[in-house]
Symmetry: C2
């Protein structure tokens, strides 16, 4: 990012002429990390009102205020796409959340499967990664990272109208990707489910295959790590049904 | 990976009944990390002869030998696809090489662009990442990681018959991805070029646009980090023209 493009996500309502109070973290970042001072410009977004230019009115190492100027970009929400994934090692879990935010997932659900190692996640840390990714990628939307829940529980009450793409490496080789992602489903809700490193259990696979909403796909002849599979699946969905 | 699926890449010729001498690193890995012993099975590949089962004949912490059994998978090479990318921060550069190997790039070229920060790379470390990715993803091929070279130099002698997909974020929005990746070019050589975080310079963009082999594409409405763009571009190419 070049010097003029500091982008901050905050929860305040945004509108021309409003004054926004900086959090301690944002003040520290602007003053100490980025060496900004009163009069400098930043871009603000809150996930609802688009992007706005703002000027630093007052800044110390512990706080400060901004004056909001004009809207610079309209609010742009991603398609109604959820990403469900089984948490793996810390770095790769962080990575999946970052990529999901960058690639335009609307909601992110860490799920516990039979072969998932993680019993817990740091939901606040993952949410912070999603915020940082939105700040970096120039977006105006931040996907919500849900609390860890059991895949079984989610599937038990799966919405009737939401399609669920899942990567089934036991599928016979079949170039059905284009058929699986039927253009007629473009404006309907979708979800992508990425399994854990050990794959789904037989019971899980059976259950998924029995769901009318489920769409099994295969991601090529090589075994992909979960983080790679997440980006690949998001790419295919976005390029064929999404906003690319 | 489950216990039975240790996969080792080595440079030896492989054939039934052959004896293979373990490197010190491989012996350490098998004996100390994976707690294997004489009689245990591993899978071997050398990037040329497919995958082979092998049995540990002798193992100490510093060396050992394996006896090669039967071939378990034929050699499978990826399509003739190069990945060129501008090295970024260490972790993300490692990641790009890992993902390129997983996703089936045939050769990996770190390139220095006008806005690339890195003056040097650790070619041996990146090559080791490509090997590890091939071991993990069940492949039989390891892409070569070339030495860092200037993008300008590569473009000056660019092969006449090799198409070059590059991500041009200044393109007017145009859903031309399907047209850009023309199915008629499926069996021709291709390359993907991922620019640095700061984008290409005006001169570079002008030069690329002037090349008859160049195919500009756009990867959605959000700005993707270089590592995300690499996986996304590889996904699109593999799913439309490659071996997926």
């Amino acid at each position: 990012m070049s010097a003029g493009q500091i982008r901050l996500y905050l929860d305040d309502a945004l509108g021309a002429g409003q004054t926004v109070t900086l959090s301690r973290d944002h003040a520290h970042y602007l003053a100490n990390v980025m060496r900004r001072q009163a009069g400098d410009a930043v871009t603000l977004f809150n996930g609802r009102d688009g992007a706005w230019s703002a000027q630093i009115a007052h800044l110390s190492k512990r706080g400060g205020t901004l004056t909001v100027g004009a809207q610079t970009a309209p609010q742009r929400n991603p398609p109604d796409l959820w990403l469900l994934f089984a948490p793996i090692k810390k770095t790769r879990t962080d990575f999946i959340v970052e990529k999901a935010a960058e690639m335009g997932a609307a909601r992110i659900f860490p799920v516990q499967t039979e072969f998932t190692n993680s019993e817990r996640i740091r939901q606040d840390r993952l949410q912070a990664h999603a915020v940082e990714a939105a700040e970096q990628c120039g977006g105006t939307f931040v996907p919500e990272v849900a609390a860890l829940q059991k895949l079984d529980t989610m599937l038990s009450s799966w919405p009737a109208g939401r399609r669920l793409m899942f990567c089934d490496e036991t599928l016979a080789e079949d170039p059905s990707l284009a058929r699986a992602l039927n253009p007629a489903t473009r404006d309907t809700p979708w979800a992508i489910l990425i399994g854990p490193e050990g794959g789904f259990s037989e019971a899980e696979r059976g259950r998924l295959r029995g769901m009318s909403q489920a769409v099994p796909v295969q991601l090529g002849p090589r075994v992909l790590r979960a983080d790679t599979a997440a980006v690949a699946a998001l790419t295919l969905w976005q390029s064929q049904l999404g906003d690319w």
